[in-house]
Amino acid sequence: MIRLREIRKVFNSGRPSEFTALRGISIDVELKKVTVLKGPSGSGKTTLLSIIGCMARPTSGRIWFEEREITSLPERFLTEIRRKTFGFVFQQFNLIKGISVIENVMLPSYPCGEDIREIRKKALELIQFFNLSGKESSKIEWLSGGEQQRAAIARALINDPSIIIADEPTAHLDTKLSLEFMGFMKMLKEREKTIIIASHDPIVYESDIVDNVLNMRDGIVITGDL
């Protein structure tokens, strides 16, 4: 269980551009379930995702991850937790251009200290799983949109995380690819992964694999299962 209490996030505090993204969020996210954060852009979904995913720290409030408070852990430790626990799929894919597919997939594992051959093996398995075999040495920019999406998911899984976080994953995809994406999420749910998605796409939030939907607007949760 991931618990958030009174989470507030303020950017550029004290300056003219001060902006409050989250105004006091208190939610529980169940593990091994699929949770969707639904809401228009500017509602704070992305910010909330980054806080849950240990990418940013809240301005105030507290977070517990499986009974352990992680609110103010130093960056070093937080990053270690994040690397092992969370896998991210970004809206823009955020794959590194100019390097091969397999190198992209292997990247999150580089700082872990594992032997590179082991990492390579895992990466190849994932590439095979996502039907990208034969393309692992191609430069990432040569792949089609759908293939890049699959590579991005493969990358998110390289460290075998227990939680997958996706930020507007279907924003740049057509219906077919969006449905394909949700298909992958279903497979991951069957493998007991926790999935948290931020999206305002009905294909996502109306999918039958979704367990909880949290409606967000202007930095707070309007309705949601608690």
Partner: protein
């Protein structure tokens, strides 16, 4: 360990991807190393040459000084010096300068005693009427073995001497402008009266005694000046040291410009680079991992430039007879000796180079690297 290797892997691949941006930096870096290395190699090689050559130089040379100037020394002084305990042998040397109006240069004429061979030069016995000339003279006057050279004696009478041999260019560093001549011819040419010679050469039994003996010589012969070999070496050392130091000071400008350039390059990351680091942070790289990547970048760039610069400098100093710094380091003379320096390179020079170039470069890139690395992980999500 693996972490180090993995990050190094990625660093190299990212450097290769951005060759364009890094080439400029590497070129400038290599150039700076090249200049500094050339100076350091050159001076060190010269120093060693001087030491080697001077090794065979006489331990003490005694000159006579009248009214503050070097004058001819009477041969009877020899016995007085021989009487000083610790002196092994005393010999007179006959030599001098000759101004040649045709080439506008000074030659050094040396009377060679076959028993007293000139270090590094093979000459044998010089018969009357013949001379052996140095390679520099041969070049500038276009005179070769078998030719005759005219000389003007002190009393105006011309003297024609046949060139028996030309000294090899290997000895050029000391003998480019040298003419070996017989005693009779030289006396005819210079007008030095018998009973006198130019200076005296002393060899001693125990080198530790040299300062004492030198002092005693001045006591016994107050109008003389002993020149000790070690002093020459020291002077040479000093001159080379400060001359190379001066060049370095001049290139301080180049070094400073390079450092500023490096710093600017490190600070001004392209949007692409910034994005990449953002992605790395987002997918789980920690600040220290990115700092490590930057560290490897610095090492790879430094090593490449350093090695290339050093190799180029080595080739420049030791294999091309044209050197950029000859004029400053060798002083002025009309006849430039053409010579090849013996290649010499040691850890000390490499260490000095490292300290002078790589350390400032590294320091200049620390803060920009850190700044690049402390990007927020969620920056790519915004």
């Amino acid at each position: 360990m693996n972490r180090l290797r993995n990050i190094l892997d990625f660093t190299i691949s990212s450097l290769m991807r951005r060759k364009g941006r890094n080439i400029a930096l590497i070129v400038v870096y290599t150039f700076v190393v090249f200049i500094l290395a050339s100076v350091i190699f050159f001076t060190e090689a010269l120093r060693r040459e001087a030491t080697t050559i001077l090794r065979d130089a006489p331990e003490i040379v005694v000159q006579r000084v009248i009214a503050g100037r070097h004058d001819l020394i009477p041969l009877r002084y020899i016995d007085k010096i021989k009487a000083i305990p610790g002196v092994r042998s005393v010999k007179g040397r006959l030599w001098g300068y000759y101004f040649d109006p045709l080439s506008g240069s000074n030659y050094t004429l040396i009377v060679v005693d076959p028993r007293n061979s000139l270090s590094g030069v093979n000459h044998g016995d010089i018969k009357e009427g013949t001379i052996i000339i140095g390679s520099g003279i041969s070049r500038s006057r276009i005179v070769h073995e078998g030719d005759t050279m005219p000389f003007r004696s002190f009393d105006g009478i011309p003297l024609y001497l046949k060139v028996k041999d030309v000294l090899s260019s290997e000895s050029a560093i000391i003998a480019a402008d040298v003419i070996l001549i017989s005693e009779k011819d030289y006396k005819k040419l210079s007008g030095i009266p018998s009973g006198y010679c130019t200076d005296l050469v002393i060899s001693v039994a125990n080198t530790k005694e040299i300062p004492t003996i030198a002092r005693k010589i001045t006591e016994v012969l107050p109008d003389t000046r002993p020149i000790v070999r070690d002093e020459i070496l020291r002077t040479y050392d000093s001159v080379l040291n400060w001359r190379s130091g001066i060049i370095l000071m001049i290139f301080w400008g180049a070094l400073a410009a390079f450092i500023i350039f490096a710093w600017d390059r490190a600070t001004g990351l392209s949007a692409e680079e910034k994005r990449e680091i953002g992605i790395l942070k987002a997918i789980g790289w920690e600040t220290s991992d990115v700092i490590m990547m930057k560290f490897w970048e610095g090492i790879v760039i430094s090593l490449t430039s350093f090695l290339t610069g050093m190799i180029l400098a080595y080739l420049h100093v030791f294999f091309s007879s044209y050197s950029l710094f000859k004029p400053v380091l060798l002083g002025w003379s009309v006849l430039y000796p053409e010579f090849r320096l013996t290649p010499f390179i040691d850890t000390y020079q490499i260490a000095t180079l490292l300290f002078l170039v790589v350390i400032p470069y590294t320091v200049a890139t620390i803060v920009p690297s850190w700044r690049a690395a402390t990007v927020d992980p969620d920056s790519v999500m915004k």
